[in-house]
């Protein structure tokens, strides 16, 4: 089961094999939760959204129609859900929990851990300040090692646009973080 490709696992699952679903779930729990935590800065909320995506897949196995690779499909769903969550937050004026938790940890940390946590908070805050489209490309490219064509399929933009967004994301972060 572990060596089977995603699409094969999905067809087994759609035929009724629950073990195939579990394998797909474990395969993507790490990467997707990682992605959504970085996008939303809230692990609890990221896990809730991740669970919702897979509960929907469990209830409606045919929601994935094999038009694109499963990896592309699931990342696309995750990106859209993150975008909806951020929009809802703006409406409700809610602040993400992770930054405040990190700040609390910062107060308790020793000197050696201090700079590391501080760096982490800095980068989290800086990433939140750049536009959503640039954040998405940066995280998918830098942390998830996806290729530009894959990111282009996920976000449904040309490869040139993706490269441009990556370039501006790095430029903006450099201006925010690096002191001359």
């Amino acid at each position: 089961m572990k060596s089977l490709p995603d699409e094969k696992l999905l067809s087994l699952f759609q035929a009724g094999n629950v073990d195939a679903f579990e394998e797909i779930y474990h395969r993507y729990s790490g990467p997707l939760v990682n992605f959504m935590v970085r996008m939303l800065n809230d692990q609890q909320r990221a896990e809730d959204i991740f669970q919702d995506i897979f509960i929907k897949l469990l209830e409606q196995p045919n929601i994935y129609q094999n038009r694109a690779r499963f990896k592309i499909w699931v990342y696309r769903v995750a990106v859209n859900r993150c975008l909806n969550e951020i929009r809802n937050r703006k409406k409700r004026n809610v602040k993400p929990q992770q930054v405040t938790e990190a700040l609390q940890m910062n107060q308790k940390a020793s000197n050696s851990q201090f700079s590391q946590i501080e760096l982490k908070i800095e980068i989290q805050q800086a990433v939140k300040l750049i536009p959503f489209e640039q954040q998405t490309v940066l995280i998918l490219k830098y942390y998830h090692k996806l290729t530009y064509p894959e990111i282009s399929q996920i976000i449904k933009c040309p490869v040139g646009t993706i490269k441009s967004r990556m370039h501006y994301a790095i430029q903006n972060l450099r201006e925010l973080l690096i002191q001359e």
């Binding site: 779930y25 897979f54 980068i123 790095i170 972060l173």
Partner: protein, 175 residues
Amino acid sequence: MKNCEIIQKLLIPFTLNELNEAETKVVKEHLETCLDCSRILSQQQQLFKQLDSWGDIEPSIDLYNQLKRKVELKKKHLIQKILVQFIALKHYMTVRRTILGIALIGLICLFTYTFDVIHREANFESPDDLSKIAVIDTNKNTMPTLIDSILSFSSAPAKQTKVTPISVTSSIENP
């Protein structure tokens, strides 16, 4: 300057080792002579180190068990919802059935009454037809049947028994 613009666009893929051999050679040669681009590269490398400080995030250990619990809870709620809707529908169906039943009985009664009226009217339309249907043999010394008595009542006047009309005035005069 134009070279710098082109090289600066290649610095990110250069840092991420995404350039081919020829492009890498061009960038390296430019960096040896251009301080601005070298400074930008140095800043980018520092930035990437900072990005690395945002380490991997591990999901909760029992995430899959949480999913199973959520699914079971959802099924329970769905069953409860269906049950509530079924009871509501059953009540609605009972009321509807009662109304339909009463309406049906009413229709049957109306139909029966209408048929009865039509049938009766059809029966008394032509008494001659009735006399043809039932032939009475008055010579036979038989017990008169109900039909005979009905027929005798409705048949030709000659066969009727004579009835002395009672004069109203005479009865008043002679009580």
